[in-house]
Structure formats: structure tokens, C-alpha cells
Amino acid sequence: MSRLSQEPKTVIGWAHGVLAIVGAFGLAYLCGTSLSALLWGDMAERIFPSMFLFPLLVCGFGFWLLFSKNLLHVTLKIVLMALLNACIIAFV
């Protein structure tokens, strides 16, 4: 721990954290929606995989957004991922 305490202070703050949490939930929702759009079958078959994957997706996106250098990187990741999902939902 003594080595860790000598490292430069990190810039993670409330804005970074809140953006990561909100972004993780939003992206997980979008990702689940696009997964449902990619699947075929009746309503239950399309919705169930997204439903079960949602908590894991939130955590995955949470870690991904958390490990960003600054706020710009977080925003960029959210926007690009949202665009990708929007394309999948729109064109499938």
C-alpha cells in the first residue's frame, strides 16, 4: 500500500462515477434491445436472453466506462456504443 500511496492522485470524481453508472445502465438497456432485435422467435424467446444478461451487461459496461482516463473518454465511449446499438436496432 505504501507504493500505491506514492502514485499520483487519480482524477476519478463524482462526475466520472455518476456518468459511468448512468452510462452503464443506458448502454446495457440499448445493448439488450439490440440483442432482442437480432434474435428471432416469439416475444419471450427474444426478451429472455437480454433480461438475464442485463445485470452482467451493466457491470461489464460499468467497468469499461470506469477504466477511462477522463470524462471525455467516458462520453466518447457512451456515444459511440449508443450509435452502434442504434444502427443495429434501426437496420436489423
Binding site: R3, L4, I12, G17
Partner: protein, 205 residues
């Protein structure tokens, strides 16, 4: 991607803050959840109609009365009738049918019991505290979000343990650290899991 040295710090800080927020609500849920173990007994205690000593050997004489009761309560139709036998959850015998009021009988005397004024206020209140319904509007979704937070904390906890152990191993190889710290951190990390496994052990047999 973030520098390796900062990953542990980010994980550690997010783990602390999210852990504090999540555990505040989970403590409430777990505390009142332990009381819901006693839910059937509380329900029986709350209802005066169930205050009788059940027989050790049940020999239901409901067959003698069933036809008469079904006819009297207009339950004789094409719809199936459910008969729920007395148990520790509910010592009364229950007859129910679709779109009909359920009928409760005392299994000792076959007496039809009116339950219109009996409400399970206390047990319902504890259950609402457990599920978070007492928090208006956002209670139950909040509990769902907290569950996702627990998944995050679990994965993050394992991640940070893995990072710190690997860091310690590297330091040890470079001759900068003492012997047992890595083992100690793994031991602490796996302690809740071992506790859960230990608690579940009696149920495996």
C-alpha cells in the same frame, strides 16, 4: 486504456463508494429478511381463527361434508376446486375455486370460518420492509439496482484482489516484498465465500 497502476485505485474507490450506498439498503433488506423466516408463524399468531391445537394425526372427515359444502357455497360447476390441506403455514383447510371467495374450515370441527376482519398487518409490514415496498415509487426498482450493485461489488472485489495479488507477486519476484501478504489477501477475499459454503453445509446431506 487506463494505466495499470491506476486500475486498482479506480476499482478500490468505486468499490468503497458503491459498497457503502448498496449496503445501506441491503442491510435493511437482509435484517428484515431474517424476520420473514418466521412469516408463517407470525401469520398464524396474528389470526385468532387459527388459534387451536392441531391434532398430531389428521384424519379429515371433510369427505362426509364436502358435497354438502360445495353445493351450499355454489362451488359445484365445471371449474376445478382446490383443496389446500392444513400445514404449519396455515392450520385451516382451504377450499378455493376460480372467481370465488375461498372457504376456510377448521379441520377439527369442519366449521366454516369467517375471516373478513382478519388482516396480516405485522407480517405484511415486515415483508414490505424486506422487499423495499415501503419506499414509495422507487422502492422495488431500487432493490433491483442494488442487486446489480452487489454483482458489481463481487466482480470488482475479485478483480481488485487479483490485481493486488499479482502486484505483490511481481514485487516479491523483484525482492521488494515480504512472504505471506499475497496469501493473506486471498484468504480474506475468499472468507465470505467460505462462510457461505460452511453455512450451507448442513443442507447438502
Amino acid at each position: 486504456m487506463l494505466a495499470k497502476s491506476l486500475r486498482f485505485k479506480f476499482l478500490h474507490r468505486s468499490h468503497t463508494i458503491i459498497g457503502l450506498v448498496v449496503l445501506f439498503l441491503f442491510y435493511m433488506s437482509t435484517y428484515f429478511g431474517t424476520l420473514t423466516f418466521f412469516m408463517p408463524y407470525l401469520k398464524v399468531w396474528e389470526s385468532p381463527s387459527r388459534h387451536f391445537v392441531p391434532l398430531a394425526e389428521h384424519a379429515f372427515n371433510i369427505d362426509l361434508l364436502l358435497g354438502e359444502l360445495l353445493e351450499k357455497q355454489h362451488l359445484l360447476s365445471s371449474k376445478p376446486v382446490d383443496i389446500t390441506l392444513p400445514s404449519f403455514r396455515d392450520p385451516l383447510l382451504k377450499l378455493s375455486s376460480e372467481s370465488q371467495n375461498s372457504l376456510y374450515l377448521n379441520p377439527l370441527t369442519n366449521e366454516v370460518i369467517k375471516l373478513s376482519k382478519e388482516e396480516n398487518l405485522i407480517s405484511t409490514f415486515f415483508n414490505e420492509l424486506h422487499t423495499g415496498v415501503v419506499i414509495p415509487l422507487i422502492g422495488m426498482p431500487l432493490m433491483g439496482i442494488m442487486s446489480i450493485g452487489i454483482v458489481f461489488l463481487t466482480l470488482g472485489g475479485f478483480g481488485s484482489t487479483f490485481i493486488s495479488t499479482r502486484r505483490r507477486r511481481d514485487q516479491k519476484r523483484a525482492g521488494k516484498a515480504g512472504g505471506f501478504r499475497g496469501i493473506k489477501s486471498w484468504g480474506l477475499g475468499s472468507f465470505p465465500t467460505r462462510l457461505c459454503l460452511l453455512a450451507r453445509e448442513p443442507f447438502w446431506a
